[in-house]
Structure formats: C-alpha cells, structure tokens
C-alpha cells in the first residue's frame, strides 16, 4: 500500500512533465496521422497522471491515522480528522466544512479512477480542469483576502497563498488537465470529422 501511495504521489508531483513534453512534441509534428497517434498516447499518459493526482489526494484523506489498520471505521476517523483541517482554514462554515470533508475524498477517488479508466475522457478531463480551476480560485481568494495558509497566530514566516502557490499548482495540476482536455476534444473532432465523400460514378445517360 505504501509503495502504491509513493508511486501515486510521485506521478502527482512530477507527471506534468511528461504531459507537457508530450504536448510540445505533438504540436511540433506535422504529419496528421503521427500527430493523432501521439495525442492518443498522450491522453493515456495524461489520464494516468491526472488520475494519480486525485487518487493521491483521496488516499491522503482516507488513509488510517497512525496505529490503525484499514477499515471503514478508521476511514471515518480520517474523514473526521480531515473535517477539522478543512474547518481550520476558516473559509467555510462548520457544516459546509463537514460536508466537504465527507464528500471530497470519495469524489476524488471516483474522479481518479474515471480518469485512469479512459472512459469518456473528454468529460472526465473537463471535470478535472474545472475542479482545478475552482481549487485555484479558492487559493487566489484566500490570497486576496489576506488569509494565511498557516492558521491562527503564526510563529515563523507563514506559507502564504500567494503567486508562488498559484504558479506551482497551476503548473502541476491545471496545465496537464487543460492539455488532456484540449487533446481529447481535438482528437474527437479529428476522428468524427466527415470524410471526403467518394466521387460519385456518373450513371450512363439514358437516351
């Protein structure tokens, strides 16, 4: 389990490099058949990378607290602990924080599996992009309101929800999501475009 979590975390952290590199390569290729083939591969890799981000996030929220085995009860405890963390950001009311804490991990789990499965990738990647946009709006909102990510009265220099956090998360999360979404819709358009109609054989004229 720990190995899988480490792999997911690694992909979530660094996977965007593969997606961006693939997108650049696809952009440079002139041959349309080779480009479509590369975009297909890119979408598979991108789906795994995006799915890993969500699965790693869900794992972090659902994994048992130290000393407890995996069980439904231990996951409920982890969710209750996550509710405390959500509330401490002071962005949501207690009831909203509690709802988010109970829904978000399973939403992330579902979206992660959906992205990796490749089923209706256009829509899964579009949803992932929207989630990341919402996430970044929340960070930006916290930045504008002057809130610190560290809560309460700080001791050292706090990690501000500032441009650095936006740039980092934009590069790691939003950029690959937008690339995969664009690629998925582009590929769909390419493959569903009407082929050139065959030249009709003219019927012999009836005299």
């Amino acid at each position: 389990m720990d190995t899988l979590a480490a792999a997911l975390n690694w992909l979530a952290e660094w996977g965007f490099i593969f997606v961006v590199a693939g997108a650049i390569a696809a952009f440079c290729i002139r041959d349309p058949i080779q480009r479509r083939s590369l975009v297909r591969s890119l979408l598979v890799v991108g789906g795994i990378v995006l799915g890993s981000i969500f699965l790693a996030a869900a794992y972090g929220k659902l994994k048992p607290i130290p000393g407890f085995p995996w069980s439904w009860a231990s996951m409920k405890t982890s969710i209750a602990l996550f509710a405390i963390q959500v509330e401490s950001y002071n962005l949501l009311s207690s009831s909203a924080a509690n709802t988010v804490a109970h829904v978000l991990p399973f939403g992330e789990l579902f979206l992660g599996v959906w992205l990796i499965s490749g089923v209706w990738r256009r829509y899964s990647s579009l949803l992932a992009s929207l989630v990341f946009v919402g996430f970044m709006i929340a960070i930006y909102s916290a930045y504008r309101r002057g809130l610190k990510i560290d809560c309460g009265c700080g001791v050292g220099p706090p990690e501000e929800a500032g441009p650095a956090a936006l740039l980092r998360d934009g590069m790691r999360f939003l950029l690959p999501a937008l690339i995969v979404t664009t690629g998925a819709f582009w590929l769909r358009k390419q493959t569903s475009a009407p082929r050139a109609a065959p030249t009709p054989v003219s019927a012999p004229a009836v005299r």
């Binding site: 389990m1 720990d2 899988l4 799915g51 699965l55 048992p64 607290i65 130290p66 000393g67 407890f68 085995p69 995996w70 009860a73 231990s74 409920k76 405890t77 209750a80 602990l81 509710a83 405390i84 963390q85 509330e87 401490s88 950001y89 002071n90 207690s94 924080a97 509690n98 789990l109 599996v113 990796i116 499965s117 560290d150 809560c151 309460g152 009265c153 700080g154 001791v155 050292g156 706090p158």
Partner: protein
Amino acid sequence: MLSIVVFGATLHATPRVAAPQVSPLVPTSDAIETYGSSGAPITMIVFTDYECPSCRALYENSLRPMINDYVASGKVYLVHHNFPLPQHKYGYEAARWATAAARVGEFANVEAALYDNQDAWAATGDISKYISAAMPTSEFRKVEQLMKGCSFNDAPGSCPLDASINADRALGEEIPVRATPTYVIMYKGHRLPAASGAVSWPILKQFFDSLLSQ
C-alpha cells in the same frame, strides 16, 4: 476496471499496527495545568498564547464545551502548555499569571477569565484585575506571592515561573508549533499529527466519537 480492482485490493491490505508511544508532552506527575483524568482514552495537548485571538476562539468554541462534556465524563484528558508569542505584548505575562494560578489550584478559573476578557487586558495590560476577580481573595494573595518579581516591568529571568513557561515553549518547538493554537491528540498512546487553528466543538466531537468507536 483493472485500476478499480487494484485500488480496491490495496485498500484491504492491512498495515502493521504501530506500537503506542510514550510522549513527553503528557505530564506524568505534578500535572497542574490539566483538566480531567490522565486515564482518559483521549488526550488533547494544547499549546496556546493567552493573547492570541485564535486561541480564544478555540477555548470559547471548543475547549469550554469539551471540558463540560467529554472531560467531565472521563473521555478526554486536556493538557495545556504555554506558548506565548513575541508579537503579543502581554502574552508572556498572562502565561505567568496562569502558571501561578495553577500552582494554587485555580488554573481553570484563570484560563477562563483570561480568554473571556482578552480584549480588555490586551489593550491595557491590567491582567491582575481579571485574575483577582476569578478566585477568592485568599487564593489571589497566594498567586500574588508567586508573582513577586514577575510583573511586566521586571527583568527577564527574574521570575521563578519562567522556567515552567520556557520548558513548555521548548516542548512546543520540538513538535514544531508553527502557529497558535496548536494541538496534538493522542488516543490510547498513539500520537496523531499536530494540527493548528481553531476548530468548532461539533467537528472536534465528531472526531472524538469516531476515535472512541474504534
């Protein structure tokens, strides 16, 4: 489909259960700034600064109802540690008063008085006014005796109570405390990661209930 099966299978893999830890955060004897029984299944260790508004929010919204409910019923043992911050002018002095009050058995009343009147004494520095109102006069006289050499204008290090406050701070720096309030929850000897910021009692209670149902 494969990913669902793999992920589902890994969910059921049972990790090794870590052995309970003995923590220096929980006092073993002379525990005076505590609430409840040390035999409670849950221990909550809180690092606070009496002049910190978030610490007041934690106390007023969570700790006070918790003391009346889960501490009183033996479910939670609450341990307080001082972590006065340099940016709060009277935070350290307030910690001295609370430490002195704890030594005469008046910690609970003084903590409540300090948080209830935080805005007032943080503006004027007149902490003794609220301390004296929080306990019988005879007890306040004892606290005053302990506070000799400990007022705001006395030189640092002249107060015998400072050793206790500084020991608390040193413990906090080991965690490390990055903001106040910071709290560490222990359940049956298992120490959970430290958390910061105010939390409401219903959310905290939900977590405790979940722990207790394990």
